[in-house]
Symmetry: C2
């Protein structure tokens, strides 16, 4: 079994720490390792270093080689342009088949968190067995609360006689639900979170992509990296932006789900960091030099060259970098995307009316 790690995310939700040059997968938001390093590391007992591939756009190749010194440059699959997961996976599958032949592939996002490694390894092994029988395997995460930020998978009939974990036909994929729907899903017990991880044979997913999206498949057939790079990019950019869920998984009858208890999170916002990191006795999550005077339940990311002082505040997320500062209510971290959108549209903050305080010299 090979791992194909998708590391192309542009990550706007961790502004100002995440930037176009260094999106979420390259940040160490949860521990000493970056999200990408952690993603590779946690595969270790099941998929060894020599079977790890990383799909990424050209600007991130150098960063990936820096972060994963054990990774041979020949196992980085350069994604010519960002067109969502269906073109990305179609491209990566062809790229691998051409060089290495057919095999089982575990397709994994580079920027998620998994707390229960034992369950994850078991799920991978069970997934591999099912993939060998031509199933398209997804991991369904048992919901622990009525999340509205995740898609859900509804279990259908159980597969007979699996040697590994129990698995089920996928009855239905659903988009992110509203709150009452999420509560219903949670109480019905047949719905799992869609973790966005897949295990399948290269030949199976290629076949299914061809069945449900013959045009995309044949346009991918015409591409390979012997093309002149600009030509390759412009043809890739012309492909439809479409997710693998929509392109294949929602249509195929080969989709199965393995429900598992992964202690998983897609680490989708600063708010999720708060849930996933240790807190001090005042409920503070702290990284950097922080002076806390009577503040509670804040998440603070600073940097070692600068003091951040919090005085009498509660329920804030404060993230300081040399190029941007975020001060956000803990319940509003989803709206950080709005900040990035404003800035991309040329917003530069309100005018200062010529009353700017001068900035003291760096001491």
């Amino acid at each position: 079994m090979k791992a194909v790690i998708m590391a192309g995310g542009q990550g706007t939700r961790f502004w100002p720490l995440s930037t176009p040059e260094k999106p979420k997968q390259f940040l160490n938001l949860l521990g000493p390792r970056t999200m990408l390093q952690e993603t590779v590391h946690r595969l270790n007992p099941v998929i060894g270093e020599n079977d790890v591939f990383v799909v990424t756009p050209p600007p991130y190749v150098d960063e990936i080689l820096r972060e994963l010194p054990e990774l041979d440059a020949g196992r980085i699959i350069v994604e010519p342009a960002p067109r969502n997961t269906a073109p990305c996976i179609g491209w990566a599958v062809r790229w691998i088949c051409r060089r290495w032949g057919d095999d089982v592939l575990a397709v994994l996002p580079a920027d998620h968190r998994i707390g229960n490694l034992e369950a994850f390894h078991e799920a991978l092994r069970s997934g591999e067995m099912l993939a060998l029988e031509d199933w398209l395997v997804t991991f369904g995460v048992r919901p622990t609360y009525p999340a509205t930020g995740y898609g859900y998978i509804c279990r259908g009939e159980a597969l007979p006689d699996t040697d590994g974990l129990p698995a089920f036909h996928v009855e239905r994929f659903t988009e992110k639900p509203d709150r009452p729907t999420a509560e219903r899903f949670l109480s019905e017990g047949r719905y799992d979170w869609n973790s966005g991880m897949f295990v399948w044979k290269a030949s199976t997913i290629e076949e299914e992509l061809r069945r449900w999206n013959p045009e995309l498949a044949s346009r991918l057939d015409e591409l390979d990296d012997t093309l002149e790079p600009d030509e390759l990019r412009s043809r890739f950019e012309a492909l439809p932006k479409i997710s693998i869920d929509y392109a294949v998984m929602e249509k195929t009858d080969r989709a199965v789900v393995i429900p598992c208890d992964l202690d998983w999170s897609d680490v989708g916002s600063w708010g999720s960091i708060r849930d996933l990191r240790p807190k001090d006795d005042r409920g503070m999550v702290i990284s950097g030099r922080v002076e806390n005077i009577d503040s509670r339940n804040c998440t603070v990311f600073g940097w070692d060259q600068k003091v951040v002082a919090l005085v009498g505040v509660e329920d804030l997320v404060v993230v300081d970098t040399p190029h941007g500062l975020l001060v956000c209510h803990a319940d509003e971290t989803e709206r950080v995307r709005d900040v990035v959108e404003h800035l991309q549209k040329g917003g530069q903050g309100s005018p200062s009316e010529g009353l700017d305080a001068r900035v003291p010299e760096e001491s």
Copy 2:
């Protein structure tokens, strides 16, 4: 009449914008001019540039000459060491008398705000007339609310037949009161805020200092700036730390108060900045590049090289500089001093447990 501007404040309450290298008097917290520049500028119709003297410790001399290019270096009175206002004023008075002879002096802090210039000019002129009759004149500011952060002056009997504004013997100086006392002061109507400004003849204050603090006066007599600088500083450092209020004003029977409506503030904290600066329609006081997403009633000081984004927050003071960041509840700005104290004692913020997020490169 000459002006003697005391510009020796170390200003810890405006951290991180104020620093030992650039305390409050050198910041433009309220408008395009620094507090010091504004202090000199507002004297203009009454006391011209050539009659302005500035008392300051050695490290600030260069900054003062930069900010006040019209000021002759020969009118900067170098304060050998910070020993509160009595030694400072005693030293400055002797320094001026030796070079320029006796005259009326208006002694003024460099870092206060006065909104009603007409009233101020009238008070200065009335003060000069009374000073020529050997009174020690203070300006009492009519209280507009029961402030607990200011000292108060209780009016006694009215002085007969003044040509200028009404003036009163000082019945009593009182320290900062508690809230019920401040409320009583406000309702009694005989109490004014002590603005810390004085008008007197050099010879009068010298005489009174000698009467009430003969030892301090005679030790000051022995000092002049022909002494070797280290010797001068060490002898000055040996003087008692004592305010002119305590050393003279509370004891003398020559103290008079002119109640006036100066629209005055000592600009004592970030909280006072909020009251003194224009707000936008969401109650925001903004300096710098600020992206406001649904935030209200915040005071934000950033700098032009960096975006500060506020998302869904209220009643905060956010001050960002290259060396420090303050996030403070609007009602807790008095506690900024605690931050500076912690840092001076070597506090460096909580340990980061080796989980520091890496800081993106400056873009």
